[in-house]
């Protein structure tokens, strides 16, 4: 017995409520976008987990590589002055 056609995978993102950011939920297999949405609803939305779903072909997602984490994020690492905690201000002030 062969399970033959392997449909492509789609990454599923669900939005919990209006105004919230979409969050990755997992993936589904589907032959096209419409079926991917329906499958995503049945797999990741059986308990009113969301008000909106995105499906994205898995191979359309470009991710940074963990090995390059140091060099890749370096531009942020050496600019601690971007954090407000970097600055010392007068003691006792409540508004800055």
């Amino acid at each position: 017995m062969n399970s033959n056609h392997q449909w492509p995978t789609w990454e599923v993102f669900t939005q919990k409520k209006q105004g919230a950011a979409h969050e990755h939920a997992g993936s589904v297999h589907a032959p096209d976008a419409e079926m991917a949405l329906l499958n995503a609803r049945d797999v990741y939305g059986r308990r009113q987990e969301g008000v909106n779903i995105w499906v994205v072909p898995t191979n359309a997602i470009i991710a940074s590589t963990p090995e390059d984490v140091g060099a890749f994020f370096d531009p942020a690492n050496d600019k601690m002055y971007r954090s407000p905690n970097f600055f010392k201000t007068a003691d006792g002030l409540k508004t800055i």
């Binding site: 017995m1 033959n4 056609h5 392997q6 997992g26 797999v43 059986r46 590589t65 370096d74």
Partner: protein
């Protein structure tokens, strides 16, 4: 920028030397991996991982996914015979959840580089293992109660811990599953509680289900760790966080009280609260039976495999139709 790069190189170089000195047999990468797990780091799909970690996880996760899928069969047996429309609707929702759980875990397992179709093929050909509990028959309606309460109860103990495991996609799938299992657990308990308030025959039926499902439920945690070949590695890598025996004990401790509350007797003469250890002592598990069932000689092994294969081939036309439709739409 340049200074920080040089510094980073220097640090990584020093770290590398440090590792080299300390260990002879492990590669620097693997030592770094083991250390990051020790520090509580969660591993994500694209992170470097030892081949054995990947293999063990794939083995565990595919077995787990198969168990969810095969788990639908004994319960599906009672959908058409549920005693009321409400019970039927609830059972259908529960069985649908099990399909969903299978899919969450297959999806998580695929992040390790194995196609779902390959895992499904291993299940259908009988090569892959699944939880031995599903090779027992569901003889009466009370068995549906016992499965939800005991089998899903044992699964909850197991999965609550797995939700904290070191592999991100698996842990996230477990969080989702745990939220849903509590419904399964309670609906099962309620079926038995209801029967235990019923006629003499209904009480006997509930007790009979308890008698048949108790010991196989304890076996679900797997053999004692001294006889469990993979335990040491899995514990080191935080794929497992507790031993099989620890989790079994945890399940017994929380379940005995639930049984007593509705008047069910645990079928174990040696079961006794131990004031000193603050745990229940319990009798010897029949491991001979466990290994017989695992190795294909349980009451329903052949039936389950046949049912699963039938379900798969009966769905063939649906898969083909969906594919043909998407191709037709692409062509237009």
């Amino acid at each position: 920028m340049l200074v920080s790069l040089i510094l980073a190189k220097l640090i990584s170089h020093l770290g590398f030397m440090d590792v080299k000195v300390k260990t002879d047999d492990l590669s620097a990468k693997e030592t770094a991996f083991n250390n990051s797990i020790k520090d509580g780091k969660v591993i994500e799909p694209k992170d470097w991982m030892p081949e054995k970690y990947r293999k063990q996880l794939l083995r565990m996760m595919s077995q787990h996914a198969h168990s969810e899928v095969v788990g639908m069969l004994p319960e599906g047996n009672w959908i058409t015979r549920a005693p009321s429309l409400a019970r039927k609707a609830i059972l259908i929702a529960k069985v649908q959840d099990e399909a969903g759980h299978g899919l969450y875990i297959y999806s998580a397992a695929e992040t390790l580089g194995m196609d779902r179709s390959e895992m499904v093929d291993q299940l259908l050909s009988g090569k892959a293992k699944y939880s031995s509990i599903f090779n027992y028959p569901t003889l009466t309606w009370a068995d549906i109660g016992a499965i939800g309460w005991l089998v899903d109860g044992a699964a909850i103990v197991n999965q609550t811990v797995l939700a904290k495991c070191s592999y991100g996609p698996y842990s996230r799938a477990m969080l989702r599953i745990c939220r849903e299992e509590n419904f399964h657990n309670k609906q099962g308990y309620q079926i038995l509680a209801f029967l235990m308030r019923g006629t003499k025959e209904q009480k006997e039926m509930a007790q009979d289900a308890m008698n048949r499902w108790w010991w196989p439920s304890l076996m679900m945690f797997g053999p004692s760790d001294k006889d469990s070949p993979n335990s040491a590695d899995l514990l080191k890598w935080k794929v497992k966080l507790y031993t099989n025996d620890d989790l079994r004990q945890r399940f017994i401790d929380r379940t005995v009280e639930q049984a007593e509350a509705i008047g069910l007797k645990v079928p174990d003469d040696k079961l006794k609260w131990n004031e000193e250890s603050r745990h229940y002592d319990f009798g010897e598990i029949n491991w001979e039976e466990f290994f017989q069932v695992i190795n294909g000689n349980g009451p329903c092994n052949k039936l389950r495999l046949k049912q699963r294969n039938d379900a798969h081939s009966n769905g063939q036309w649906v898969r083909e139709a969906a594919k043909a439709y998407s191709e037709k739409r692409k062509a237009n």
